[in-house]
């Protein structure tokens, strides 16, 4: 699971920036993130899903809850 990290210091070309939709924290995450991937905000610990990657902009949504039939 990817954890969103607070933005700070020098920009890292391997990371993208966005805003947590729950707590509005500025966060960054790896550029190789995929649509439907679940990430966690390091500030508020909310589980978020990458809904869409649109022209280098990432659209987040609240991740679906774990369901009874999830697993291996």
């Amino acid at each position: 699971m990817v954890i969103l990290k607070k933005r700070g210091g020098r920009e890292n070309k391997n990371f993208m920036n966005t805003t947590c939709i729950i707590c509005d924290a500025d966060v960054s995450f790896p550029k190789d993130v995929e649509e439907s991937e679940v990430i966690t905000c390091s500030d508020c610990k909310s589980r978020l899903v990458v809904e869409k990657i649109d022209r280098k902009k990432v659209i987040l949504a609240k991740a679906p809850d774990v369901e009874e039939d999830w697993g291996e």
Partner: protein, 298 residues
């Protein structure tokens, strides 16, 4: 003017111009590792979110050669596999394999029939039968687990009659119809760990120890993974269990007991992100290679 398309001679023929679809719901680290492994082998890899599909046989467009089922949701994944197989597309793992592995009781029956060492087990639908099953399984403690569960959830180690009555009542009142099919296993004392073997087409390619002070040793519940060498006994047991289930890509949970190794459970949509590093084996690569072998013989 037509461009001459050169052949990349470093890419084996079986991968050339082939398209692999990875069926998924939530994308985990494993799906990303598989994507990378497939692309690294020269495959065209499509990520297909099955939650966004309309599985209509009259309109569904198949633009891939083989599918690898990696949905986190067992129910959704099962329907996707069945649909694609009906459209004559090979899928890994196939529905005969997944229909066994997605149900612990069915898995236990298949393993037992093939004389694969596995814990004693029973299935009951009520408290009276559960009490009698405890006697048949050698007394307390016993383990109650959901037939379709994963990640170490809803497991109960039941040490006495009071606990048994409480758990069965909870399942009876709060549970779904599926939860009311109560799978019971004799409790097996483990040496603080169990083994997770990764078995592809009958061959154990690598394994990890999962160590925990807790009796539940899933890494999802915090167990620590370290490399476990494949012994001859493990290789033989893995092959026997795999043959009973029908091959495919399987993750086997194995106990070490005084009577030897025994297979506790078999998983058909394995997670392995914490296992490539300690074992040094590219499990993702091995899965992709297996998919291409299946395609070659399809």
């Amino acid at each position: 003017m037509l461009r001459k398309i050169g052949v990349n001679k470093s890419v084996p023929n079986i991968y050339f111009m082939k398209t692999l679809a990875i069926l998924h719901s939530t994308v985990r680290a494993e799906e990303k590792m598989l994507l990378k492994a497939g692309q690294g082998r020269g495959l065209v890899v499509k990520l297909i979110d099955i939650r966004e599909q309309i599985f209509n046989p009259d309109t569904f467009i198949v633009d891939f050669d083989i599918a690898l089922e990696r949905s986190v949701s067992t129910v959704k994944g099962t329907y996707a596999v069945r649909f694609l197989e009906a459209m004559n597309i090979p899928v890994v793992n196939s529905s005969p394999i997944s229909s066994i592995c997605e149900d612990k009781f069915i898995t236990s029956l298949i393993l037992r029939r093939a004389h694969v060492q596995t814990p004693q087990f029973a299935l009951v639908f009520g408290i009276d039968q559960a009490k009698e099953a405890v006697e048949q399984l050698g007394g307390f403690p016993v383990v109650v687990k959901p037939n379709g569960g994963s990640w170490g959830r809803l497991l109960a180690k039941i040490n006495d009659m009071d606990s048994l009555e409480a758990i069965i009542e909870h399942k009876d009142v709060l549970g779904s119809p599926q939860q009311k099919a109560i799978y019971m296993q004799a409790y097996v004392d483990k040496p603080g760990r169990d083994i997770r073997a990764f078995v592809i087409n009958g061959k154990a390619i690598c394994a990890i120890y999962r160590a925990s002070e807790h009796w539940i040793t899933n890494t999802a519940r915090g167990a620590e993974a370290t490399n476990c060498p494949i012994t001859k006994e493990m290789a033989t047991l893995s092959k026997k269990a795999s043959d009973a289930i029908g091959g495919g890509i399987l993750a086997m949970d194995i106990f070490e007991t005084d009577e030897g190794l025994m297979v506790n459970e078999v998983n058909h949509t394995m997670e392995f992100k914490n296992s490539e590093k300690p074992t040094g084996v590219s499990i993702s690569g091995a899965i992709i290679d297996y998919c291409m072998e299946v395609l070659k013989h399809a």
